[in-house]
């Protein structure tokens, strides 16, 4: 019989056990009667021989090995009754737990989505990103990809792709949508089957410009084609060209990036048409492609990496101009190569650590509450022990109670997590790239919650349980209040100390994050956010050619500058701090030439006259671009201080020349120096940056910045009207003030400050409840002692001090431990401190003072109560 059947058959088993023993007794009695004993005596002897019937039964039940399960319903019933008897305690316990477990579940679902959930592809563990980090971002050039693909042996397939935005016209509506350009083997290597139609294959990706086909995501098909199967074979217009829809991807598949939610895939050979830009496919120096490979079975990532490194060395020898110094690393696929992985892991680690600490704090709190309650239940437990309950039996029952508590807390926590996840999703980075917005609470998250809840119950339940099941029976039964047995108060004091130290650590994290946000807001970003707006548009969407585009630009700026209240207006290909970075290897005239990956790189954007003033950037030397520069054949540039210092230290950079496209030029002359700013993130090191003169249009989106005399919000409608007049069908996107723009780089700091701040406050709340509970209980326990002291003449002040001292000593101890932990641990946070020291004195002292104050308050009320103890009542109470 299996154990679970036995469990179901529990009632039957009990009956059978009873029957079996009765049979034994009856038989024995009958035998004894047969030997000549009278029935009464025979039955007595038989009973004696068998021993205590209930004990035998109990031992038989134990022998079955499913005892704890059989007792479970009983324990649960009893536990529920005990919890209902103390609704206040139960409510606080469950609330504390659900906060702790809810926070853990929510953060874990974040980690789960970004790091643990595999890509929805075949054997996702075989898929790796191939990173060449020579430009600081994990991208390689297309010719290099081709060579890797053709020379490698460790992979069953290798793909390259680009994340791209494009203009899509469908049913006369022009929109900017996001998609992938991917090599023909993309879907084969990923191992995905289409939901409808077919995917493109290497045959659809042979020669540039020759394969106008597209594959839609399931969502796109639903949204734009209402899920109509006849969408296959239909034409969509991409940047003014016809493309044929050939297939629809399965639901939930969004390609090879975990967090990216594009709508459409194109074959890589359509790069020039889709991005309306240079054909990068033959430029070995243009590293702007992400690559992924599927490891052959049996090949490990380190083996494959070693092979790619060998090939990289060959490629560096073969093409030293572009590839010298090239290195390759592999990383799990799906987070833009390895680019987002580090930051996401770091952020997740900090958050998981923080919510873990919050949960520990909640555990300490509950252990404390349970200890207090166990003291109240001493007599009950002592009675049960005295009449023969085994200690293990009692431990089991008390643990059942605490696990019951934590499971209810966990269930509530799960609900809370749903809400928290929603709240976290409200923290969407203010960018137009479509990102995954669903945080899944899937099986793995549920399992996590279950394990965490159970563990929590065991952790906070075990110590009080073990302690309370070995009371000194005699005083407990006599209803004597123990005078605070050394061990017991040691445990409770330990809990208070750990609560204070844990909450100190959490508050310091919170304080540092808030300081980081403050610092980030006060950093000079190299532009003036107030009184300026930006708007982006993409002339590619309307199929503009160069001359029409240049004309459009000229007229747009002219009209906008003429609007009332507008001071400056200018255009750029991308603004600093918009998460877009274009890095180029730089060659400085008259300086030793480096090659390939060893070349220094700079970030470069373009600008029209007026952009610098519209951004509110400070020109330190030289002059801004002028309209006249456009007529000159010479190329001009504005560089920042870091760039000037790095390449022309001690000289005037004005008039110096450099090239961003190798020795063949074009050569670009420096005409001005801008104050340093921030370009990708607020925490970056000083980065060399250059604006070149935007003379010719190269396609792709442009951003216009307009500086106004006053509140810019009012100007937006007027500027939009100018767009309307010039081209009514042109979509204008990313319309926002520069203040709103600054929300992009401030996003991580803001998220960190909000999350850590909330958790810090939660920790403070839990710790103050803990200290308060502990001190109140201590006063109750010591009422007799206090009564004696008062009877002997102690003044109220002395009693007050007695209690407060006890609390403050514990608090001080907790603070010391907490400070030590914080000093060791806050280095983890350096990613979002923006230059605030991880040992920031203001935060450390401020938080310590705050916590001391709260602890003092938490001691104050119980201490006041202690001074009100009536000696007569206290002494008579026992």
């Amino acid at each position: 019989m299996t154990w679970w059947r036995r469990l179901w058959l529990r009632k039957k088993m009990e009956e059978e056990l009873e029957k079996e023993l009765r049979f034994h007794l009856d038989q024995h009695t009958a035998d004894l009667i047969a030997q000549g004993l009278d029935p009464e005596e025979a039955r007595r002897r038989a009973r004696l021989a068998l021993g205590g019937q209930e004990q035998v039964k109990e031992q038989c039940r134990d022998a079955r090995g499913t005892r704890w399960l059989e007792d479970l319903p009983q324990d649960l019933r009893y536990g529920a009754r005990m919890l209902l008897k103390k609704p206040g305690f139960t409510l606080i316990a469950i609330l504390t737990l659900s906060l702790g477990i809810g926070a853990n579940t929510a953060i874990f679902s974040l980690v789960n989505t970004a790091l643990l959930r595999p890509l929805p592809v075949e054997r996702p563990e075989q898929l790796v990103s191939i990173n060449n980090l020579s430009l600081g971002i994990p991208v390689i050039s297309f010719p290099n990809y081709r060579d890797f693909r053709d020379r490698m042996n460790s992979f069953s397939g290798m793909v390259a792709f680009r994340v791209t935005s494009l203009g899509l016209s469908n049913n006369g509506v022009n929109e900017r949508v996001w998609g992938y350009l991917a090599t023909g083997n993309y879907f084969q290597v990923l191992g995905v089957k289409p939901a409808l139609g077919r995917f493109f294959t290497p045959d659809d990706d042979k020669s540039p410009g020759a394969h106008p086909v597209a594959v839609l995501t399931y969502d796109c098909w639903q949204k734009r084609f209402a899920g109509d199967p006849r969408a296959i074979g239909k034409t969509v217009i991409v940047n003014g060209r016809n493309f044929t829809v050939i297939g629809v991807a399965p639901q939930g598949f969004y390609g090879s990036e975990i967090l990216y939610r594009p709508e459409i895939w194109f074959p890589m050979m359509m790069l020039a048409q889709v991005e309306a830009s240079y054909n990068y496919l033959e430029e070995r120096g243009n590293s702007s492609f992400y690559a992924q490979g599927r490891l052959k079975s049996g090949v490990t990532a380190p083996q494959a990496e070693a092979e790619l490194k060998t090939i990289a060395a060959q490629l560096a020898r073969d093409f030293p101009n572009e590839n010298e110094g090239m290195g390759v690393t592999l990383s799990p696929a799906g987070l833009l190569g390895s680019r987002m992985r580090g930051p996401i892991i770091g952020f997740s680690a900090v958050l998981m650590a923080v919510v873990g600490l919050v949960l520990l704090l909640a555990c300490a709190n509950l252990a404390d509450l349970l200890l207090a309650r166990a003291t109240e239940r001493r007599k009950e437990i002592a009675v049960r022990l005295a009449i023969g309950a085994s200690r293990w039996r009692l431990v089991r029952q008390l643990l059942t109670e605490s696990i019951l508590l934590s499971t209810i807390g966990g269930a509530l926590g799960l609900l809370l997590a749903y809400w928290l996840v929603d709240a976290m999703m409200a923290f969407k980075p203010p960018i137009s790239i479509p990102l995954s917005t669903e945080l899944h609470i899937d099986g793995r998250v549920l399992l996590f919650t279950l394990i965490v809840s159970t563990l929590t119950g065991v952790i906070f339940g075990l110590a009080p349980t073990l302690q309370s099941t070995k009371p000194d029976l005699v005083p407990a039964l006599k209803d004597e209040v123990s005078m605070g047995g050394y061990r017991r108060s040691w445990l409770r004091n330990g809990l208070v100390v750990s609560q204070v130290s844990l909450s100190l650590v959490l508050l310091i994290c919170a304080g540092l994050a808030v300081r980081g946000l403050q610092r980030a807001q006060s950093l000079n970003p190299g532009l003036t956010p107030q009184n300026a707006v930006e708007m982006s548009f993409d002339l590619t969407l309307q199929g503009y050619d160069v001359s029409r585009a240049v004309e459009f630009r000229r007229r747009l700026l002219e009209h906008v500058r003429a609007l009332p209240g507008v001071q400056y207006a200018g255009l750029s290909t991308f603004l600093p701090l918009s998460l877009i970075v274009k890095n180029y290897p730089i060659l400085v005239e008259g300086q030793p030439e480096q090659r390939g990956a060893n070349m220094p790189t700079v970030t470069a954007s373009t600008a029209t006259p007026g952009l610098i003033s519209a951004l509110g950037a400070s020109l330190l030397q030289g002059r801004d671009f002028t309209e006249k520069d456009d007529e000159s054949t010479q190329n001009f540039a504005l560089v920042n201080e870091t760039l000037a210092r790095r390449f022309w230290a001690g000289q005037s950079p004005l008039g110096k020349r450099f090239s961003l496209a190798g020795p063949a030029g074009p050569w670009i002359e420096v005409i001005g120096v801008l104050q340093d700013g921030k370009y990708f993130s607020l925490s970056e090191e000083p980065t060399p940056f250059v604006y070149t003169n935007m003379r010719q249009w190269t396609g792709g989106p442009l951003t216009m910045v307009v500086r106004t005399a006053s509140e810019p919000q009012n100007a937006i409608a007027a500027i939009r009207r100018e767009f309307q007049q010039l081209d009514a069908r042109l979509p204008v996107f990313d319309v926002r003030t520069l203040v709103e723009h600054m929300a992009i780089p401030l996003f991580p700091a803001r998220v960190a400050a909000t999350l850590l701040g909330s958790f810090g406050l939660l920790a403070l709340l839990l710790a103050s409840i803990g200290v308060f509970g502990m001190m109140s209980h201590a006063v109750t326990q010591r009422a007799r002692e206090i009564g004696i002291r008062m009877a002997l003449g102690a003044q109220a002040g002395a009693i007050f001090k007695l209690v407060v001292d006890q609390g403050l000593i514990l608090t001080a101890l907790g603070l010391c431990i907490g400070l030590a932990v914080a000093i060791a641990g806050t280095r983890l946070m350096s990613g979002f401190l923006y230059g605030v020291s991880a040992l920031d004195v203001v935060t450390f002292t401020g938080v310590s003072l705050l916590l001391s104050l709260v602890a003092l308050l938490a001691c104050y009320i119980p201490a006041r109560r202690a001074t009100k103890v009536d000696p007569m009542v206290a002494l008579r109470s026992e």
Partner: protein, 115 residues
């Protein structure tokens, strides 16, 4: 004064039960009686520990049980040996044999005989 009775060494009760049950399906009371009879009263089986032992052996799959009528027509729980139980009995009795022989040898050792 009753004849001297020996306490059972630890763990031998299981072995004895298995041996008795090996002779054919038998109920708990009969096991107790048989143990006492065969050992001529030397082995005193505490009846209180007989049933937990039976249940333990059943739980470990060494014994199986059915409810059957006795000669007197009453229903009783009859234990029988499972295949696993028979194997267990085999190994246990062999090791018991070896142990007792060894202990016997040592006890028979003539004093001063060992050099």
């Amino acid at each position: 004064m009753k004849p001297t009775k020996s306490d059972l060494p630890q763990g031998t009760l299981d072995l004895l039960i298995l041996k008795v049950v090996a002779l054919g399906p038998v109920h708990g009371y009969a096991i107790a009686q048989r143990l006492e009879q065969v050992s001529r009263g030397v082995v005193q089986v505490p009846q209180g520990s007989l049933y937990p032992a039976l249940h333990r052996l059943e739980n470990r799959g060494l014994l199986a049980a059915d409810w059957k009528a006795t000669e007197t027509g009453r229903e009783a729980k009859f234990y029988r040996l499972t295949r696993k139980g028979r194997a267990q009995l085999e190994t246990e009795s062999q090791s018991w044999q070896r142990l007792t022989e060894a202990v016997g040898l040592i006890l028979r050792m003539s004093e001063g005989g060992a050099k």
